[in-house]
């Protein structure tokens, strides 16, 4: 969609070069967002970003980039790199004045790109100079996954295809599809983000929603074709890894949340507008739609679960049941997983602590309030139901369907619970290390659990027996005992 603009920018740059600085190398290809912004973000924004601004200078968005810091030196003079403080500081000889301070200098190529961009007129090719640069960077192109994995990679995401015959598993720069009955590798959906933290299938079984990214710097949400791995639609990029993503039951919307504290949603049909919300103060760890598609519910390490209107992104209510001082399950806990039970019509949320919370967004709102006695009222009127899961450590994996919930976590235990009786129905044995992901098939009655060691165990939900177990690491047969 950016193509026409790039062309015009390129034209402008070409013209600029001719008039500005004959000595500069040909720089027709230098584009700010593609070539310059990533360098600045990687090497400079640690000290000159939104949170820290050494010397009063920031460059996390374009308008800040162009504004002088405390020194009052103009950072960028279009067409004149030698007069631009930003450039001068990069080539400075005095190690105390050279940027990045106390770090290696930028490479000659990087400096050359910045010089060329300034020489060519320092044009901004983004949409909004006040919007953070990171959010305007074009999506990254990802490398091919290693043909043979040297070691297993921790599995954070799994999803059964609607017919229950394929199991999508998050890999390293890829999504792998397996036959859950025998552990046979069916296909590899390549060139995906480095870490895959969330997966969901379209209801027709042709597409897989893939959320992931590179920790600390990049996140991405895309819908890929399950047969070919071709990207059907890339919804958007994030500041940090996408940890949770979901498709609504009616198939009309997708939503995702990232470690960059952002929750976003899009209409699945082309042209539908999306929204972004930054109401969490820590990682958004999981996202789920309510059964009727009205709400997007996001869990966070900030100890809250937020309920958004799916259509607009407006905050409907905040569920504070994971930080309570009164009642049976008290304490302050990060939330790591969220699910929705279609039978009771309630949200399930879990993380640290001793119980899964089951609650209704609408009732939660009516019980919420701003009065000082909120907690007291909530405690008295609380409609939240608790499944005491019996795990001793944090729970990371959760799935819910048909009145049942499955959960697993750092204990290595996977258990099935009834959302009605709140009892433990069954324990699924076999994992000896942290479980990060639990997935239940809607057809075929299978359950899968996987975690740190990269081993997937598939159970039959009818009897709890292991159907098969395999390392979700193409080419690697034996677990190396990590």
């Amino acid at each position: 969609m950016n193509r026409p603009r790039i062309v015009t920018t390129c034209l402008a740059i070409v013209c600029g070069v001719v008039t500005a600085h004959a000595a500069d190398p040909p720089s027709a290809k230098v584009a700010f967002l593609r070539d310059v912004a990533p360098i600045l973000l990687r090497r400079c924004s640690g000290c000159h970003g939104s949170r820290v601004s050494r010397g009063g200078y920031r460059l996390h968005d374009f308008s800040s980039l162009m504004r002088a810091g405390e020194s009052a030196e103009v950072p960028v003079v279009a067409g004149k790199p030698e007069a631009s403080e930003l450039y001068r500081r990069l080539i400075e000889k005095d190690p105390d004045a050279r940027m990045p301070r106390e770090d290696d200098a930028l490479s000659a190529t990087e400096i050359g790109l910045i010089r060329s961009w300034i020489s060519a007129g320092a044009r901004f090719d983004g949409t909004d100079p006040k919007l953070s640069l990171r959010s305007q960077l074009p999506p990254r192109s990802h490398p091919v996954a290693p043909k043979v994995y040297p070691v297993a990679v921790p599995v954070f995401a799994m999803a059964f295809s609607p017919d229950g015959k394929q199991l999508a598993v998050g890999g390293y720069h890829e999504v792998t599809l397996w036959n859950p009955l025998n552990g046979e590798l069916l296909r590899r959906l390549q060139r995906r983000p480095q870490r895959i933290h969330s997966l969901d299938w379209t209801s027709d079984g042709t597409g897989v929603l893939v959320g992931g990214g590179t920790p600390g710097e990049y996140g991405e949400l895309a819908l890929v074709t399950a047969e070919t791995g071709r990207v059907r639609r890339l919804f958007g990029t994030f500041d940090d890894v996408v940890l949770g993503a979901a498709i609504s039951a009616d198939g009309k919307r997708v939503a995702a949340g990232s470690a960059g504290r952002e929750t976003r949603a899009w209409g699945l049909q082309a042209g539908a507008k999306g929204w972004s919300s930054r109401v969490h103060s820590d990682w958004v760890t999981g996202v789920v739609f309510s059964g009727d598609g009205r709400f997007v519910v996001s869990a966070s390490r900030d100890q809250t679960v937020k309920v958004h209107e799916a259509a607009t992104g407006d905050l409907f209510t905040t569920y504070n049941g994971h930080r309570k001082q009164l009642g049976k399950f008290t304490g302050r806990f990060s939330v790591f997983a969220v699910g929705f039970d279609d039978v009771s019509g309630r949200v399930l949320s879990v993380g640290a602590g001793r119980a899964i919370r089951i609650w209704d967004p609408v009732k939660a709102k009516s019980e919420n309030g701003t009065a000082a006695d909120m907690e007291g009222r909530f405690f008295k009127a609380g409609h939240t139901r608790f499944i005491s899961h019996g795990f001793g450590k944090t729970t990371y994996g959760l799935d819910a369907r048909g009145g049942r919930a499955w959960a697993g976590g750092a204990d290595g235990l996977v258990r099935e619970f009834s959302t009605d009786s709140l009892e433990t129905v069954r324990s699924y044995e076999g994992h000896g290390d942290w479980v990060y992901s639990v997935a239940a098939a809607s057809e075929g009655g299978l359950l899968a659990g996987a975690g740190y060691r990269g081993e997937v165990i598939v159970w039959n939900r009818a009897d709890g027996q292991v159907v098969c177990r395999f390392l979700a690491a193409p080419g690697l047969v034996k677990d190396q005992g990590r």
Binding site: R42, R43, G46, D103, Y172, G216, A410, Y436, Y452, R482
Partner: protein, 1047 residues
């Protein structure tokens, strides 16, 4: 055990320091080169050894030439050397080689043995990965080592909990911090290298030793240590423990070797953390290379995870034109101070004037200014040795003792807000008494630390009452008497000292059995201190550090106090003399005074050791230590600097200028303005009152038998009289109902009135209640669902019918001679109808009461009312309280000492004169002086000038920081204003000339200069209102720097 070694080290260190210093003085013969270590063993592929090459120059000085000497390897293919670091080549070959170390004309050969090159050499998680992260500062207290971590990433402080750290790094944070596929993609590398924004900034560079270790650890699979991996036993730092180096060319490469339990030794120089105590004197880089920046001594602290060692480096330099001046040396203090000054080319200031000395020594020893009269006498005196005589005279005064008591009371937290006014006063007076009699400090300490008893009577037991928790007692005791701040070790091993968590709880174990019940401090027979992290039961700290086999019933504090106050204890005497030094010089030899640790070196080790030794030799006589120091030329130096000692603040080459303390200043203002009597005047009043008190006492003693006989006669005639009260409680049960109905023990058990019996799991005993009386409302501490038992005896002359009259909130039960006569669960009004009649039998009648509270207020009133109109009643409580009635009716020879003493007091206090005289004796002499009151009065003025609240055992609670409030107080504070106004009374009678002279002599212990006299006199002459002019003068004098500072 560890501590012995370290403290032993300290002693050794000081010996060595002397030895080193001595060695330096005679010229050594020829230059020589020494290489450390003498032979190098490279036992694994990543083995590295840092060489330290020292040249001993012709003049005997040591010089580090590690980075200047040439080092050649005989087999470069096997062993290579860079920057003095020896490493095997990467070829994986074992063998032997020789290093040739060449410096000037000397060559030293160092054999090298290379082995283990064929075995893999994986990264050790704790000793390499975590050490590397510690080195880079990741787990520092202000970063991810803080209790909640930073940015959602938490590490244990300085890696004391590797299990926590491995979880945080690998599995926690959704595995985002390590990437085994592509180690360089790991967030734990990208963040500190600022490839991704990092709030903590740039922390890691590819050139850092840590970089390779972290990268390699990730690529090896980011695994924790296998079980049974060798652990580090100790680190050895070379050179140590101290060395003197000559500037300007003074650098020193350090070598740090870690010794492991499997016998291997690894060079961890590049993984150890270095700190310098004085950045202006010595700096050290990440690779362990020290550079001297200026003259002086610095401690370089080397930390490798939980191991900590310090090296003391002294840098000397030629100072142009420096010549040692002629100064008198009065005693060893001067000799030791001066030897350090000579070494560092610092010239001491000359001896101060008499007037400066007079004001200084008065303020330091008594807290008060010399009166004008005393000043004149001293200044006029011509005989030799007058300073020594003055010191002796002041040391013998009560003022000295009481001023000392004030300082000790600060540390022992004599705080009326905590103890209550009565007990605070009792405790304060005990401290003052100990100071007046100059009780040896070891004995005083033992008395405090092993005290038990009723804190209303046993003054020293308030030490424990002032500090409510066992841990706090351990911390306070260590800080006050050992000069050690062990608080950090409560939650984790001490980051700056070799105090471990186990040490902390071992000291705690010595005090764990101290019980505080109501007002009583006692030692219970059971209970063990447990280290909450490991769950291990701690053996109490005692005579042999940790007591070998603690006796089950022994008071463990005795062993601890014995260890602490034994001669040769590494802490006790040093901490005590250091406090005295601090008081006299405004700065401890170790500073802060209560922060002894190897990373905070004494400015003069020999001096501290010698003072401590003399202190022990004198029988822990604080007065003697003060005498020695005050008589030294060092103490008597002028504050005026010369060009060689201008920058010295630690070595006592000159006297410090100090702001008067809050109390000193308040008294000084009182003295000058005449609003406080001088000591001489007060002494006369006190002496007279003492004589009067004695006379009244004698008179009362003669009347005593008559008084007793009268009362006894009345009691014998009375129908009945009440004996003493006892109580036990509170007991708790789940609900109010069960609290009321349940027997907690005293109701039925035989021998239930036995004071030595304990009831319930909390071992509650009967406590005497001398303050409880019939007919008076008795308030009990609030709290839900509680029950309190009380019993007392009523002696009846004959069979008597009485009515029980009870008010209780909430319920009450009463047993009469074992028979339940009353049981009411509700709030009781004083209602005759509901209250029973009982028949007292002749002789003793035992009443047991149970008072029950459901919540809220809790009190009861209890009395017997005669139903026979003609019966004679016992004397009113005001005439004789119940408890004393019982004493009185006990034959004299059977009376117990303590209650008998109470009867004596009661008798004496009935006569109002006694109290009046006592108040006069106390207030007349003492209460008017802030410096003479160990029991503090407080006001805005004292607070502004840093009077401590006495909430902590830290000397730092007394602040000497200048504040705006202080300026305001002095300029126009209420106290200054009032006292200046009163000064008219003192000065108005004097002629102008004598007035000015008197004012200057009072305030500054000197005559006014001509200019001062002329200006002051002129002001008085020209004034229309002479009184106002006097006030102006006094106010101006009080607001001079000369007045508010001690110099």
């Amino acid at each position: 055990m560890k501590l012995i070694a370290i403290r032993g080290n300290d002693v050794l260190r000081s010996v060595c320091l002397v030895a080193v210093t001595l060695l330096l003085l005679p010229a050594a013969v020829g230059a020589a080169v020494e290489v450390y270590p003498e032979r190098v063993r490279l036992t694994s592929r990543r083995s590295r050894i840092q060489l330290v090459i020292t040249s001993r120059d012709a003049d005997g000085r040591l010089r580090d030439v590690t980075h200047r000497a040439t080092v050649r390897s005989s087999k470069p293919g096997l062993v290579s050397v860079r920057n003095g670091r020896v490493s095997p080549s990467d070829d994986g070959v074992d063998g032997q080689a020789t290093l040739h170390v060449v410096w000037q004309d000397e060559t030293v050969e160092v054999p090298v043995e290379v082995s283990g090159q064929k075995q893999p050499d994986p990264i050790a998680f704790k000793y390499e990965t975590l050490a590397a992260m510690t080195k880079q500062g990741c787990n520092a207290g202000s970063c991810h080592g803080s209790p909640d971590g930073k940015g959602g990433f938490s590490l244990s402080l300085f890696a004391f909990d590797p299990d926590h750290d491995t979880e945080s790094l690998v599995r926690g944070g959704l595995n985002r911090r390590v990437n085994v596929f592509a180690p360089l993609e790991s967030l734990m590398l990208k963040k500190p290298m600022l490839r991704v924004p990092h709030v903590g900034g740039k922390r890691l560079r590819p050139t850092d030793a840590a970089y390779m270790i972290l990268k390699r650890w990730i690529s090896e699979g980011a695994r924790p240590d296998r079980d049974g991996a060798p652990t580090c036993e100790k680190i050895v730092v070379y050179p140590g423990p101290s060395r003197v180096l000559a500037r300007p060319d003074a650098t020193q490469q350090l070598s740090v070797l870690a010794h492991f339990t499997d016998g291997t030794v690894r060079d961890v120089t590049r993984l150890a953390t270095f700190d310098t105590s004085h950045r202006d004197i010595a700096t050290i880089d990440a690779d362990g290379r020290v550079t001297g920046q200026s003259r002086g001594q610095a401690a370089i602290t080397v930390r490798f995870l939980e191991h900590l060692e310090s090296v003391y480096l002294t840098f000397v330099e030629e100072v142009e034109g420096f010549e040692w001046p002629v100064v008198a040396e009065h005693n060893f203090v001067d000799r030791l101070v001066n030897s350090r000054l000579k070494l560092l080319s610092i010239a001491p200031s000359p001896t101060c004037d008499d007037r400066v000395f007079l004001r200084r020594v008065y303020l330091d020893l008594t807290g008060l200014l010399p009166s004008a009269a005393a000043a004149r006498t001293f200044l006029a005196e011509k005989k030799l040795g007058k300073r020594a005589r003055l010191i002796d005279r002041l040391l013998a005064t009560d003022q000295f003792a009481r001023f000392q008591a004030l300082q000790l009371a600060d540390l022992l937290r004599v705080n009326p807000k905590v103890l209550g006014a009565d007990r605070a006063k009792l405790f304060a007076n005990w401290i003052a008494e100990a100071m007046v009699t100059n009780r040896p400090y070891d004995q005083l300490t033992r008395d405090l630390l092993t005290s038990t008893g009723d804190t209303r009577l046993v003054a020293e037991a308030n030490y424990f009452a002032a500090i409510p928790k066992t841990e706090d007692v351990a911390e306070a005791t260590a800080q006050v008497f050992m000069g050690s701040r062990i608080q950090c070790a409560k939650c984790h091993n001490h980051p700056f000292e070799n105090w471990t968590q186990d040490d902390y709880y071992s000291i705690g174990a010595a005090f764990h059995r101290v019980a505080r019940q109501a007002d009583r401090i006692s030692v219970v027979g059971g209970g063990e201190m447990v280290n909450p992290r490991s769950g291990k039961v701690m053996t109490p700290w005692g005579r042999n550090r940790v007591m070998p086999r603690p006796l089950a019933n022994a008071d463990r504090r005795v062993a601890f106090a014995g260890w602490l106050t034994a001669r040769g204890n590494p802490f006790f005497a040093r901490a005590a003399v250091n406090r005295i030094w601090d008081h006299l010089f405004g700065r401890g030899i170790v500073d802060p005074v209560d922060d002894f640790r190897s990373s905070n070196p004494p400015s003069n080790v020999e001096l501290l050791d010698r003072l401590a030794a003399e202190f022990e030799k004198s029988g822990f006589d604080r007065r003697q230590t003060v005498r020695i120091i005050c008589n030294s030329q060092t103490y008597q130096r002028s504050t005026i600097t010369n060009r060689f000692n201008r920058d010295d603040t630690t070595l006592c080459s000159r006297a410090p200028v100090r702001l008067l303390t809050a109390e000193q200043l308040q008294d000084a203002i009182g003295y000058v303005t005449g609003s406080v009597k001088t000591v001489e005047q007060s002494d006369a009043v006190v002496a007279e009152s003492r004589r009067e008190l004695e006379r009244v006492g004698e008179e009362l003693r003669t009347k005593r038998p008559q008084w007793e006989a009268g009362l006894v006669e009345r009691l014998k005639k009375a129908a009945w009289w009440h004996g003493a009260w006892w109580s036990a409680g509170a007991f708790t049960a789940k609900t109010a109902e069960t609290t009321h109905s349940k027997d907690f023990g005293p109701e039925t058990s035989s021998g239930r009135f036995d004071a030595s019996r304990a009831f319930g799991p909390n071992k509650i005993r009967w406590q005497p209640r001398p303050d409880w009386n019939r007919g008076q409302q008795i308030n009990l501490p609030k709290g839900a669902h509680k029950a309190m038992y009380a019993w007392h005896v009523v002696h009846a002359r004959a069979e008597t019918r009485v009515r029980l009259r009870v008010v209780a909130d909430d319920g009450m039960k009463v047993w009469h001679n074992g028979q339940l006569v009353f049981d009411f669960a509700q709030v009781l009004p004083d209602d005759k109808e509901q209250q029973p009649e009982i028949v007292l039998r002749p002789g003793a009648n035992r009443f047991l009461l149970k008072i029950v509270n459901k919540g809220g207020a809790w009190h009861f009133t209890w009395r017997l009312e005669s139903t026979q109109p003609d019966s004679i009643s016992a004397p009113a409580v005001a005439d004789l309280p119940d408890a004393l009635t019982e004493v009185l009716m006990t034959p004299v020879e059977k009376r117990v000492a303590e209650p008998a003493a109470r009867l004596d007091r009661f008798y004496l206090m009935r006569d109002g004169r006694i109290e009046k005289l006592r108040v006069r004796i106390e207030s007349g002499a003492r209460d008017q002086y802030a410096t003479q009151r160990p029991f503090p009065g407080s006001d805005a003025f004292l607070k502004a000038f840093g009077q401590p609240e006495r909430n902590t055992p830290c000397a730092c609670e007394r602040s000497s920081e200048p504040t705006l409030d202080q300026a305001l107080q002095l300029l126009n504070g209420q106290r200054v204003h009032d006292q200046v106004a009163r000064s008219v009374g003192r000065f108005s009678k004097l002629e102008n000339g004598p007035l000015v002279a008197e004012l200057y002599m009072s305030a500054f212990s000197r005559k006014p200069s001509t200019d001062e006299r002329v200006a002051a006199t002129q002001h008085l002459v020209e004034a229309t209102d002479r009184n106002a002019a006097i006030r102006d003068l006094v106010w101006a004098v009080i607001n001079t720097q000369e007045f508010i500072f001690q110099h």
